[in-house]
Amino acid sequence: MPVRPLAKDDIPQVADLYWTILRERKGPTPPAVQSFLQELYFTNPWIDHSLPSLVYDEKGTIAGFLGVVPRKMLFKGDPVRIAYGGNFVVRPEFRTTLAGLHLLRTYMAGGQDLSQTDSANDTSRALLERLGFTTIMPFSLHWMRLLRPARCLSYAVSHLSESKLAAALTFAAKPFCGALDSMAAKLSSSPFRNTRSSLQASELDVDTLINCVAEFRGGPSLWPDYDAPSLNWLLSFMERMKGHGNGLRKLVLRDSGGKIVGWYIYYQTQGGLADVAQIGGSRRHVKEILDHLFYDAWSHGAIAAHGIVDRRWMDDLSGKNCFFTCRGGWTVAHSRKPNFLELLNSGDAFLSRLDGEWCLAFGE
């Protein structure tokens, strides 16, 4: 079978596949795409040569690719091997070779305890489910909080319609949106009112993050096994690749006594979504942590904040006028050990978007 591990020499062909087919871009592949793939698949800190990325090699032509990034987790304190699959793409002229099925089958047959992806679309979810994957609902539910509702509406119109009329209307509405959003953020009766939190914020470093997760993750059976070198690499990678925004905001929050009560990490995009990679903290301070996040994202120009639901925070997210949706990428998983799927489906895990392949995206 033509499925084999990805080699460094394959990167130029994989980069072209990624750029022209997966990203649907025209023109030559930017050199930065090759650097991104090279770094992600050959220098990530979790490399495990027994869990390689895969290519479908049709007589020298790379017809398909499935990126695999192992991540370290602990199950009740014991190490677990998780292989995250992503950047799955097959060249259209080779799709009747069923290259996609062969790549997925080889990936599933690897030595990992759990195969997982955290950003499957509807099509790949359907394909993966037919091959034996399970949709993990607790980690597929997303929350969204509108921060500039009028701009959100305008943003939605401009993204749903590519007509010149829609673009003109969006442009013309800009000043009105600004005025409406300003009122929405300040009126005391507004559901979009942004409240300044009393918590004190400072830059979050990786050692503090590791301590925060250890202190506030609760008592789940599965959690990420963080260490400073790999977290440093990950946060630097996210910052440089700009996968979901222009910059990364990483803040730790303290109460008036200086005690750490929470933290968050999100992609900051002026005029776009504030995509939250991880948020956590003390149960007693959830509302204040959310207030701080929303105010910070709003003051940096975001039109809405968005993240994965931690079910322990569901009532507070609802209380802060967030709405919930599954339209944000599916988490699907496969394991030969049914207890892993059961614990994921019961939400018995501390998993965030920092722990999968969502955070390993390439932006422009």
Binding site: T96, L98, A126
Partner: protein, 88 residues
């Protein structure tokens, strides 16, 4: 036991192809391979498997799915599964 060349079996396989790919079922022969049907890609393959499951009242596992590389193999697997059902 149903024979591979059984026209009834091939007829039902053709119906499953029509349902999955919306193509003229008469274009499907025992020698048809995925490259003969433009929409028979990985996603099309799992749609076809669902159509075959409906047509024959069978369930295919992942190994069956992977072995269904062409119409001849599909007929062989369906025949074998039908034999198992009849023998049960």
């Amino acid at each position: 036991m149903v024979n591979v060349n059984n026209e009834e079996l091939l007829g039902k396989v053709r119906t499953a192809f029509k349902s999955a790919f919306d193509i003229d079922p008469q274009t499907i022969t025992i020698n048809t391979v995925p490259s003969d049907v433009s929409s028979w890609d990985s996603m099309g393959h799992v749609t076809l498997a669902s159509s075959l499951e409906q047509a024959f009242g069978l369930t295919f596992d992942v190994d069956d799915l992977m072995a269904m590389e062409n119409v001849k193999e599909i007929c062989r697997i369906v025949q074998s599964k039908l034999g198992q059902v009849q023998g049960a």
